[in-house]
Amino acid sequence: MPKRTDIETILIIGSGPIVIGQAAEFDYSGTQAVKALKEEGYRVVLVNSNPATIMTDPELADRTYIEPLTPEWVARVIERERPDALLPTMGGQTALNVAMALANDGTLERYGVELIGADRRSIKMAEDRQEFAQAMRRIGLKVPEGVVVSSLTQAWEAVERVGYPVIIRPSFTLGGTGGGVAYNREEYEEKVKHALALSPIHTALIERSVLGWKEFELEVMRDCRDNVVVICSIENFDPMGVHTGDSITVAPAMTLTDREYQEMRDAAIAIIREIGVAAGGCNIQFAVNPENGEMLVIEMNPRVSRSSALASKATGFPIARIGAKLAVGYTLDELPNDITRTTPASFEPVLDYVVVKFPRFAFEKFPMADATLTTQMKSVGESMAIGRTFKEAFQKAIRALEIDRPGWVVGQTLRDDRLEADDVESLKAAIRTPTPERVFQIKRAMQAGVEVEEISRLTGIDRWFLTQLKELLDAEEDFRRAAAIDGELLRGMKRMGFSDRQLADLRGMREEEIRELRWRLGIRPAYKTVDTCAGEFPSATPYLYSSYDDENESEPYGSEGIVILGSGPNRIGQGVEFDYCCVRAVLALRELGYRAIMVNCNPETVSTDFDTSDKLYFEPLTLEDVLEIVSLERPRGVILQLGGQTPLKMAKGLEAYGVPILGTSPDAIDIAEDRKRFEELTRSLGIAQPPNGTATTLEEAVRVAAEVGYPVLVRPSYVLGGRAMEIVYDEASLRRYFERAAKVSPAHPVLIDRFLEDAFEADVDAICDGKRCAIGGIMQHIEDAGIHSGDSACVLPPYLIGEAALEEMRHYTRQFALSLGVVGLINVQYAIKDGVVYVLEVNPRASRTVPFVSKATGVPLAKLAAAVMVGHTLDEAGVPDEVSIPYVAVKEAVFPFSKLPNVDTLLGPEMRSTGEVMGIADSFGMAFAKAQIAADGALPLEGTIFVTVNDHDKPTVTPIVRRFHEMGFRILATEGTARYLQARGIPCERVLKVYEGRPNAADLIVSGEVHLLINTPLGKLTQEDDYYIRRTALQHRVPYTTTMSAASAACDAVLALRSRKGTVRALQEWYQLSVASRWAGGSLVEAGKAGAAEGEPSSLVKERS
């Protein structure tokens, strides 16, 4: 069936900010969907609140709305754009929920919008657990037995039927809050009571536990003619009980016979038909009893998912792209397999390799959080590796994680492996509980002599996987003991995925020595193609992975090629925004006639889509892996300033091996990162810096801190995302900091800066071609100084910084760029206090804010950076000194607090946000309001405000509260704050603090009487109290601010929302308001010409011809 011609405009909803459980994979799927539908000639309208995405780049969709993903705001887009159809399956749960709300409230019907891909009925059947269970029973499949109860009595009856261990899931709580597993009567009673109390409707689901069963997933696609194919099977290394997003997973399934696999496939096909996914993909999870093969259906997602992104990367089959085409009426056999290009998409990929995915966690940033892995996802990113064997892929995936482990190796200390002791009994006890480190604890247990069988019994991990690990351990022992390393021995180890560093450590050698020996013995990896068909057909797409096998399939590009190093697994501080930069650069290089070679290991990304670059190496980002690629490819150069710290860390190593680095030199990067060299530069330029120093011992740190003066900001050097960064107010706290958070030694110096209290902070992103530096944008932080720039809301253009200071920042930025010889991007952070502009840090590389600035201004900084790195000038590219915009863009950060119980929500110098949103409007208030709504912190238009601030903030908060009062808000405050406000003529009611009795502030929040919370920390005595109030607000979704500037901004926003209805406008329309419109078409060459036409110097295209 050919594509539908009765629809013209299709609306796609993205997934919003990156949060735990919903990350970059939806940028990948959404981008594919937009491209696939545009290719078919449809007019595509996109809504997403997340600016750090490829999909929201203006040249992708016909109309791009960066607006909040709420039914209300998306309805405004629908009202304006009048799409014929809405594709709800590409933006995760967020898009599905918004689409369902718009279907349920009649908006879609009112505007004649058809849901395509999945309809309302099937979405509901898949999402509603009761309906789903009934549907499964209709087709003869089993689900875990479950009973909904509303009293303890009923719960006792239920557990009679279900048996122990039992899972308790309270109804309608956020993210599974209050759920758990009970192993006995006592635990059960306690957990049921807790669950019933937490549930707003006082009911809970009592479910049979299949903890310890094997877990599998199938990715299935169906077209409108009912053709169904299974794209990929995935087996979880961790058994049931650990969220699949937190599990180590393997594709294809390793331990199923054909009979069992086909039974699962039959079930999957029956499920997709029964649920009725009209046309597209779905993901189905199964649990299998390892004792007898009993199979249960766990759940089904009628949309693309994290797993489908993984399956796409694992097989080469672009599920989202094909799903979008199926949604507009194509059938699978009408679509080509994009990898082979000669065979159709109606087939099932076969793998002649093994794929392993490893989750990456961020518990180091949340020491209070419970690191036990459960049914609620806690990981923030993942790495994927491909090898010819499980062992090879497994080890590659670990070294790709960048967790300081060059493979499957135990930590240097017990603490690194989350252990207190390493006697056999302690190890056995530890591995019963799944944590991020369990797989390393297992190694320790094996080393201590615990048998595979016993480990399997304790962990529920299949003995096949454990035997594979045991073989790695045995091989290590043989290698360690071998009299000499010959070629055969070394090749054997490399075939099992051991890294050079791992092998060096085993022999007490240096990594370079092993590498030299290996090269001398001629042991080099071969690159194999991911081709969907296990070599049965020729492949047109160079999607490659390394393996120590015989035949290399990668034909080097030589000097036509440019290697771009990606950013690896997503983590807090390094996420999708760097992938955005890499992808933009790849596209620019391709446009400029180079062959772009991408290296990355993160399956969630657009950069690892097989058609983004000319050639993709799906490889870990370590020096060893990159050196092998570079020595095969012999590229013109390597770009490493776009992928965050990951590639930057390799700068010196690559340079030492003579690899040409494009753009800013590694030495310039070093000047910026080396405190002493940087200070010299700053002094020579006459730019002010907060007093600062470096210490390599504790006593030196104490001395330096005294010299620069408290409060001080301390942090280890070479960190990302403010890891272990803290503001310290006195010597005692400083000493505690070193005990608790950071080590200090000559190898690990610590940086100590005077902390500038009450300063404004600003970020400047700029681009430089070595001769001229253009300002990309100046962002003013909304949060106070001391809060990590990644966590602070910011506004572009700045709204409270005077022109003189702005001019100074521009000037300084140019000075830094030119004196460092920056070729590419540079980011400078400033603090402004009492009219003095201080430089805080300079990063001669792409910063986290590049996508935000690019979206806000319409100037594609990352693309331009790629152009200047290959030798073009800003003049040629038609880039003016600065693009000023006659509107306002606000970035707001999004935090994982609701997923991590017991974590304080107070912001600080250590970055903890996972994602960001943008609000764009013609006024600051409205832009901030949009950003808040998009970040799920919708502000109240009326109601009650609860204020409790420290003495220091009382004068500042007074005018803010007065404005709220004037708008008619009721004001509540704790004693001190209340007294202060009343004395200044603001009527307010006193509320008890938590320790003062009841009903107290927390009670009011719980009972829904508070609509906005303004809270700054009060001091030692009330620390617990504040924490409790903030957590309560978070759990009950009451918006809160913890800084004065944010409170003031919130006030502006409420004012804006009260005075007029919010309107939506596409990026393409905003850009018409400035010279940025020249880049809206997506072509650098065309933009360069446009610049030239306006009398600016020669264009890109002239120069090249």
């Binding site: 009979r259 049965e536 057909f537």
Partner: protein
């Protein structure tokens, strides 16, 4: 782990692929083919259609779930040799009884591991399936080369006579509604299992059984099985097919080799495919309704087709085609209840999409109500 021996695969064009072996074995020849099945190695190795071949598994991790007593397509492994990238040292599955390695060894089937199977597969894809030899040793010796040179070619080879049953046997309920005579050219066990599960009595007869003998059995239908070798060498079957299916109008169903024999019996011809179809993911279009079936395949030859027709066989028409290369995957007689498919609706290993063909055959036998197959809940819906 015991020390592994050096071993290799040598092809007749001189290309060779180093690997290892766990035990000594004599040099063994066979046509070297690859299969892309991700699961089901035990079914593959026991499938008589692989008789005499050296099978390369493109899936890299083999032996993970061991072998069991149920997933067999005949009484023993039929392949001459097995080539894999990595053979598991340990299996894990609740039905497993034995390690793959030991099971193959007990039947004297050599297995060469640690081979760059992708390189081998790509080579066969480019150069075509060809004769080869597996042997122990660091590299090919003149004796081994000589032995390979003297081994028979697949073309013109009647392997069905070797793979067939020695005597007649009958399975299924003696009072079953339908009685099918199945010509065994190397029949997979699952075909029998399915017929029986659908309520048939099946008499399995040797490949050379003449038409008259079959008629004496008073069958309601005729089944022509899969099997190894060159269909053109199974000339003795053609008169029988013309008699029973053509003249007597006995409802006839053929699979794989059986499909090719029907094509030949009615005047068509068969051709050798460059490297065959072996795997569980081949898309086949059902021309009647446009639907796509994902099928299990294992064949090196195919019936030659042209558009919807089979040159030389006017009475036949094409019903199914392979979407990867357009080759003939199914045919039927324009008037008589005779139909056949090139792929394996009985699967095992492979997907169950085409199981409905068995029900369709039963319908042709005069059935009114056909029970669905238990394993695929919706198989009756088209």
């Amino acid at each position: 782990m015991p020390q592994k021996l050096k071993a290799y695969v040598l092809l007749e064009d001189g290309t060779w692929f180093p690997g290892t072996a766990r035990r000594e074995f004599p040099p063994t020849t066979g046509e070297v083919v690859f299969t892309t099945n991700l699961t089901g190695y035990q079914e593959v190795f026991t499938d008589p259609s692989y008789l005499g071949q050296i099978v390369t598994m493109t899936a890299t991790m083999i032996g993970n779930y061991g072998v069991n007593s149920e997933d067999v397509e005949s009484t023993k492994p039929q392949v001459n040799g097995v080539v894999v990238r990595e053979l598991s040292n340990r299996f894990s599955n609740w039905r497993a009884r034995e390690a793959l390695d030991e099971w193959l060894a007990s039947h004297n089937i050599p297995i060469v591991e640690d081979v760059d199977t992708r390189r081998l597969t790509r080579h066969i894809r480019a150069a075509g399936a060809m004769r080869g030899i597996v042997a122990v040793g660091p590299e090919p010796t003149p004796e081994v080369r000589d032995r390979l040179e003297k081994s028979p070619r697949m073309e013109g080879l009647d392997l069905a006579s070797l793979a067939t049953t020695e005597g007649k046997r009958t399975v299924g309920d003696p009072n079953a509604r339908y009685h099918i005579v199945a010509y065994d050219y190397g029949m997979k066990e699952n075909i029998l299992r399915l017929f029986v599960s659908l309520g048939c009595r099946v008499t399995v007869v040797p490949a050379h059984t003449p038409a008259e003998e079959t008629l004496e059995l008073k069958p309601d239908g005729l089944f022509l099985s899969n099997g190894p070798g060159d269909p053109a060498a199974v000339k003795y079957a053609l008169p029988m097919i013309r008699e029973l299916a053509g003249k007597r109008g006995l409802p006839t169903f053929g699979i794989c080799l059986g499909h090719q024999l029907i094509g030949l019996a009615f005047g068509g011809e068969t051709v050798k495919l460059p490297y065959g179809h072996r795997g569980g993911n081949h898309p086949v279009r059902e021309l009647e309704n446009g639907r796509v079936l994902i099928t299990s395949q294992n064949h090196g030859f195919a019936v030659r087709g042209e558009g919807k027709n089979i040159p030389g066989a006017k009475e036949l028409e094409i019903t199914h085609i392979n979407l990867n290369d357009g080759t003939v995957e199914g045919l039927r007689h324009r008037e008589l209840p005779i139909f056949a498919v090139q792929y394996h609706p009985e699967a095992s290993p492979g997907p169950h999409d085409a199981r409905k063909h068995f029900a369709a055959f039963l319908e042709a036998l005069g059935a009114t109500a056909v029970p669905g197959t238990a394993a695929s809940p919706r198989s009756e819906d088209s």
